[in-house]
Amino acid sequence: MQTATIRPVQLPFDCIRSNLARAGLLLVLLLWSLACQADDNTLHRGLGPEPDALDIHLAQSLSALNVLRDLHEGLVSFNARAELIPGAARGWTISDDGRTWTFELDDSARWSDGEPILAEHFVAGWRRALDPATGSPTVGLLDVVVGARARRMGQASADAVGIRAVAPDRLEIELVRPVPWLAELLTHPVTYPWAGDASRFSGPFMLAQRIPGSHIALLANPYWREAEQISLDAVRWHVIEEPNVELSRYRAGQLHITETIPPGRLAWLRELFGDELRIAPYLGSFFLVFNHQREPFADNLALRQALSLAIDRELLTERVLGAGEVPAWQLVPPGMPGWPKTDPGDPRSQAERIAEAQRLYRQAGYSERRPLRVELRFNTSLAHRRMAAAVAAMWREHLGVQTRQVNEEWKVFVANRRQGRITEIVRGGWIADWRDAANFLQLFESDSPLNYSFWHDAEFDRLMTQAGSASGEQRLELLRQAEQRMLEQQVIIPLYYYVSRHLVHADVEGFEDNLMDIHLSRWLSLR
């Protein structure tokens, strides 16, 4: 008969005789397990700076809007490609005159405590937003609604505002004029429903924890109308201001998606991460703005054109900025509805452009003996500093312009740019609030608080006013003419279009590049 002796298995741990050494090893293992601790099915996303507020009526920053789109849902929402889809509203109808929109609410729409979302909650939200005591910075977006402007200025009662709950599941919005982009506007948090306090959420996720300067933790909302479609259990948005720090955390395996990438390291990142690096067109423009109310740029078109032509945009974007930016010759970014898919650019070669720039420069009354002395003003940022140095060098080399680069702290810059008393050329830029060319062009209307060029042009204003009351292709044509007008007048020097830049881990599914750079967590999952 065969007998088997079972010998106890000796674990490596047993070989360690000293209790002190065992305790040490245990401590190391504990630290190791804590370091490697991975919560299952939690998506870790970089957020950028701390959001200014998670109150739907106070939030303004991009980071706040990203989190709020996970926590709440408006009448209209986005799919993974950031195209409009019905949100809390099942559908809507528009009156013949285009001024009354009626929304049918989805009867399965629920707050995070299971209570139904009703039309009156939208009315309550808009009333709170428009109440001057709330101090909402984004409420101006509602100005297209009847009575909204008067109400936010404290000149009308809340009842005078054109939003009504005609039935518990039916909402009517009355506009001062037809607004083709209203559906897009209704994706903005300032239009979301309000349940009387900030502890209830109408979106696919709900707030679980918030530590300022660290992270915002969300949990899937079981009462959300399409809760079964959410694949993630939780989402953790990490507040990380420095792109280099964010990159380190991504490389250390702590993030699935980054908010951005550090500037000037594109080739290295491409080599290191391959397909995980996602660079895509984005509806944003970067430009330099002339101050038209001061010498030397007031009434000097030739000089403005000369300075624009002397800048080699390809060189600037490829060699100086190097984070995927696209050279720009227009204000409205390509891909905007009614606009071409790519910037047609300037058909001349760079050498021809420079020759023309030199001719115009002389025509404007400047020469080597009498060079232009100008200030180029920008706020503190590595990318801006590089841009300014390159632009100044190009102007000097081709025209002999003497540029003083003025780097200002953010708030000082914003105040100076706004007052326009000492500025000559300032850096400008705009990112689309919604997919509509008017969103960019309105910056240059005479009465716009955002018109840092102080350019006042009756023809441009007329085209914009006409576009405001037109619709369809006619409206787009008027907007194109308006853009043409301001480009001909060289109100600004377009330099480049922004691109969205993310690192997306191979385990993440459902992330689709899109022009708005909006990626709701509800469409994302982990392999």
Partner: protein
């Protein structure tokens, strides 16, 4: 001693008052306001915001209102982080900064003092030179170089520790604490060495040695205590600074302490947040300098603060 303590505490009140007054008006002199942003707001909306935060009142009125708030320990709402009051932000961030700072301080003392003393004991020998050279490197290499190097090595290459983020767990604390402690270790080691050398040459040490006392006892029982006086003077302001967080370390390791509020608050013109952290820092500086003076008396029998006890 009681007299001295009461006097010191009484003098802290006008000091703090002056600090609050200067800070209040200085931050308001800076161009730009808390609600200036890339997207300039329509004037009516700006007026609504100004009214909500009482910024439309005359400055002296605002100052009076602020002093009254401070008396009630209410630092007001943050102008930039709109969901929070300054009390909230400090209450959430201070424990993190205090923990990190205290751990770094303890680590720096535990390592800095022994190696400084040892270097003094081995003065002008290879051990002394090597310790002091390493200390010099520790002082010279700034945090913003050391922190990314530590992250690269321990988080990215070796994968032993997280690259950043905060929890009250050892794995999250190791790298930031070490980064904060390294330059302090170097400072403390250099200060200890210098003062220890001076003490070792003094007559009471010669006497102890002449009596045949073992060298170890001379060092620990007689030389160390007086040699620590300069370290203690250094520790007062250093402790206040390190406990209120480090901008660089907090940003690189994404730690939610209060260090970054000093810079972010000023850049955002977040008037109330700047005031909150300045007052906290002021209180800590006053408190630690007071504690240093008390420690002095304990360490050096020649120092007495009450007039009657001053020796010849």
């Amino acid at each position: 001693m009681l007299n001295f303590s009461l006097k010191r505490l009484a003098s802290a009140v006008p000091t703090l008052f002056l600090l609050i007054t200067f800070a209040f008006f200085l931050i308001r002199i800076a161009p730009g306001g808390p609600f200036d942003s890339e997207r300039a707001l329509p004037p009516e909306i700006e007026a609504n915001l100004a009214a909500k935060y009482h910024l439309d009142e005359p400055l002296l009125f605002q100052y009076g209102r602020y002093l009254w708030q401070i008396v009630r320990l209410d630092f007001g709402p943050s102008f930039h982080y709109l969901d929070w009051t300054v009390n909230d932000l400090i209450a959430q961030g201070a424990p993190v900064s205090f923990t990190l700072g205290a751990l770094a301080l303890i680590l720096a003392l535990l390592i800095g003092i022994p190696i400084g003393a040892w270097a003094a004991f081995r003065q002008n020998r290879p051990a002394d030179y090597s310790v002091m050279s390493i200390a010099m490197i520790g002082i010279s290499v700034p945090n913003f170089v050391m922190a990314p190097l530590l992250i690269l090595l321990f988080a990215i290459i070796l994968g032993w520790l997280p690259a950043g983020g905060w929890e009250f767990t050892p794995s999250r604390m190791v790298l930031p604490v070490v980064t904060l402690a390294l330059p302090m270790i170097a400072y403390i080691a250099r200060i200890t060495r210098g003062s220890m050398i001076e003490v070792l040459h003094s007559s009471f040490i010669r006497t102890a040695r002449a009596k045949g006392m073992p060298e170890k006892d001379v060092l620990i029982h007689h030389a160390l205590k007086p040699a620590l006086l300069p370290v203690i003077s250094y520790l007062g302001p250093a402790a206040a600074a390190i406990l209120t967080g480090s901008v660089v370390v907090e940003r690189i390791f994404t730690i939610p302490g209060i260090g970054s509020y000093f810079v972010q608050g000023a850049l955002n013109r977040d008037y109330t947040l700047v005031m909150g952290v300045v007052i906290l820092y002021g209180i800590l500086i006053i408190l630690f300098n007071f504690l240093v003076d008390l420690l002095y008396a304990w360490l050096d029998p020649r120092i007495r603060y009450d007039d009657a006890e001053i020796g010849p």
